[in-house]
């Protein structure tokens, strides 16, 4: 694959040191098959060890590397350089979470409104055509949502005021409702509370940026209908 010279603009922030935040530029040459996360690792290893970002799986499964790439929330680990238009990549941390340092945000509040308990395992939709094996009763898989926070960052309501529980929590409530209909009173009440789905302004940006096809806006609409019909 061809290599490309790019300017990586990273929003830097260290409380009390690089404060207020500002962009810092690094020039690197990188293979177009590599990703924005690879750019950051290259910069950290070779040019500036002080740069901070989160990452773990490198294949869109953990959700730690979500950031704003040229203005849009994306996962750095699957955003290939070849897909970027032009030769500048501007990187900013997610909005809607308290700043921690550089591209890292404090994610502590992320799960505040998740249903409790919330089971991360679900039935697989890919059932075998014939009878399953003796050893395996049914095939299972993880939830699609990797809890990356991209939808929360893109939401104009979470950005404006902090009291909306946000699209990720509502999608989780929606999923739990599909899996455990017997909990419907509790879950519809949770979603219908003061900080819940009533604050959504239907901008639909959550569904647009979600890298995993969770469609939080659809869950929000469903929960809203259920509350009104209840």
């Amino acid at each position: 694959m061809p290599e490309r010279a790019i300017i990586v603009r990273v929003m830097r922030y260290k409380p009390g040191i690089i404060d207020p935040p500002r962009f810092e530029n690094h020039e690197i040459v990188i293979d177009e098959e590599r990703t924005v996360l690879d750019c950051l690792e290259t910069i950290r290893t070779n040019l500036d060890t002080s740069i901070l970002f989160r990452h773990s799986c490198h294949h869109a499964s953990c959700g730690t590397c979500a950031m704003i790439i040229n203005g849009v929330e994306r996962l750095a680990c699957i955003t290939k350089i070849g897909y970027i238009e032009g030769n500048v990549i501007a990187l900013e941390p997610l909005r809607g979470f308290p700043p921690a340092g550089d591209l890292v945000r404090n994610m502590n509040g992320f799960f505040n409104y998740y249903p409790e308990p919330y089971n991360y395992i679900r039935h697989s939709e890919m059932l075998p055509p014939a009878a399953p094996l003796l050893e395996i009763k049914e095939f299972l898989r993880f939830e699609n949502c990797i809890e990356c926070g991209a939808c929360v960052s893109a939401c104009p309501v979470t950005d404006k005021k902090g009291d909306f529980m946000g699209p990720a929590s509502l999608a989780a409530i929606g999923r739990e409702l599909e899996k455990s209909p017997e909990r419907s009173d509790e879950l519809i009440a949770l979603a219908g509370g003061e900080r819940g789905e009533r604050l959504c302004e239907r901008a639909l940006r959550c569904s647009k940026v979600c890298p995993m096809g969770v469609y939080p806006a659809m869950h929000i609409e469903n929960l809203r209908k259920k509350r009104i019909n209840a």
Binding site: M1, K14, P15, G16, I17, E33, R34, T35, E41, T45, S50, L52, R54, H55, S56, C57, H58, H59, A60, S61, C62, G63, T64, C77, I78, A100, G101, V104, M107, N108, G109, F110, F111, N112, Y113, Y114, P117, Y118, N119, Y120, I121, S124, M126, P128, P129, A130, A131, P132, L133, L134, E135, I136, F139, L140, R141, F142, N144, D163, R195, M212
Partner: protein, 388 residues
């Protein structure tokens, strides 16, 4: 109780933090990046049944099957428990089968031979010329959320977890460890953290951490490339029925398939080069088991370094055991420093148990390990739920 500092927030460090707080120690876990930004988190996510190692590396195989059974009980929420197949595709694989069956029996790994018809009826994307398959108790873990359950439980029980904090020095006085020097990467400041025992659980970086105390440990970073494709083609983990080799495993997860891997030995743990020829080789080899792989485009390709215990006697890299060990550096003149290396993500709990047992012996504490039974707390508790 003694203050224990664990260097390295990988699976081993997180499991050790959990084990030690349960035994009553006061624990701080130090990680230079975010949790699991080293090798843990980047691996395939295979919860090994041990079958892969049964022939050539029986001690690792036994560790895997034992831990496989324990993790199913204590962290079911981080596992897709769909089993695995070892598939025989050609004559060479057929010839390996008796050795494989014997090895699994000797290690106590339950396997069952199934006909090509049965295998194809559950896994329609397997190669049609399949000879037969063995079903094994493999499973798939969420490589980030499984160890996160250990961190969450440790935190709820009082462990302190410091992310973005790098260990830059180990203070040794009169042959004993006093503590560590840390660099807070948010505040850009160095400080000292006192500790009675320091555990070096820095994975592939353990050589560098040991050198902070002037020591050498037998660690060999061994990077491997993995490839994900944007399609889930099987329900189960698919392994090639042959001796552990390259490009012979497909681990499905959510809507992805993760293909692996390669193996080379390196000196630098940060050497994570992904060569295009490695990606091509992995795709081609895995497509011998699941031809549809070739019709998919590559979604991501990345590399991670195994923290292998170097073995000068091993004839090649594949022959180095995947077992683990903890080294008490008292004999090297640094009392209170322990290095924990090797192992698999599957054996993180066992690595912790062995190290915590050693710490109990060293401190004269007679407290038993309880981590085989304790069901872990939800991984989301790693993030403090803040009052709204």
């Amino acid at each position: 109780m003694e203050r224990i500092v664990i260097i390295g927030g990988g699976g081993a460090g997180a499991a050790l933090a959990h084990d030690l707080v349960m035994r009553g120690f006061s624990v701080t876990l130090i990680e230079k990046g975010n949790l699991f930004s080293g090798t843990t988190g980047r691996h395939h996510g295979l919860l090994h049944s041990g079958a892969r190692y049964a022939v050539n590396d029986p001690s690792a195989a036994r560790e895997c099957i034992e831990e496989n059974r324990i993790l199913r009980k204590i962290v079911p929420g981080a596992l897709e428990q769909n089993g695995g197949l070892f598939v025989a595709v050609d004559d060479k694989d057929m010839a390996y089968a008796p050795l494989f069956a014997e090895g699994c029996a000797a290690c106590g790994i339950p396997i069952r031979k199934i006909s090509p018809g049965d295998a194809l009826s559950c896994e329609v994307n397997l190669v049609k010329s399949l000879r037969f398959a063995y079903i094994v108790p493999d499973a798939v873990m969420d490589a980030w959320r499984l160890p996160l359950h250990f961190a969450a439980t440790a935190r709820l029980n009082g462990a302190v977890i410091s992310e973005f904090t790098e260990t830059v020095g180990i203070d040794v006085h009169a042959g004993s460890v006093n503590g560590v020097r840390l660099f807070d990467r948010f505040r850009h400041k160095e400080y000292v953290l006192p500790g009675d025992i320091v555990v070096n659980a820095a994975g592939a970086w353990a050589g560098r951490v040991a050198s902070l105390a002037g020591l050498v440990v037998p660690l060999r970073p061994a990077p491997g490339v993995m490839v994900s494709i944007n399609a889930r083609l099987t329900n189960m983990v698919i392994n090639r029925l042959h001796g552990a080799s390259e490009g012979d495993i497909v681990v499905p997860q959510r809507r992805l398939s993760i293909l692996g891997t390669t193996l080379r030995l390196a000196d630098d743990p940060d050497d994570t080069e992904v060569r295009a020829e490695d990606v091509k080789k992995i795709v081609e080899q895995c497509a011998e088991m699941i031809p549809a792989i070739k019709t998919q485009s590559v979604h991501a390709a990345w590399s991670a370094a195994r923290p292998l215990i170097d073995d000068p006697k091993a004839s090649n890299a594949q022959a180095i055991s995947r077992t683990f060990d903890c080294f008490d550096h008292e004999g090297d003149g640094v009392n209170g420093l322990i290095t924990l290396i090797g192992g698999k993500a599957t054996t993180l709990r066992a690595m912790a148990e062995k190290t915590a047992d050693l710490i109990c012996r060293k401190t004269g504490r007679d407290v038993h390990c309880t981590t085989r039974e304790i069901v872990l707390s939800d991984y989301r508790n790693t993030f403090r739920r803040e009052a709204p």
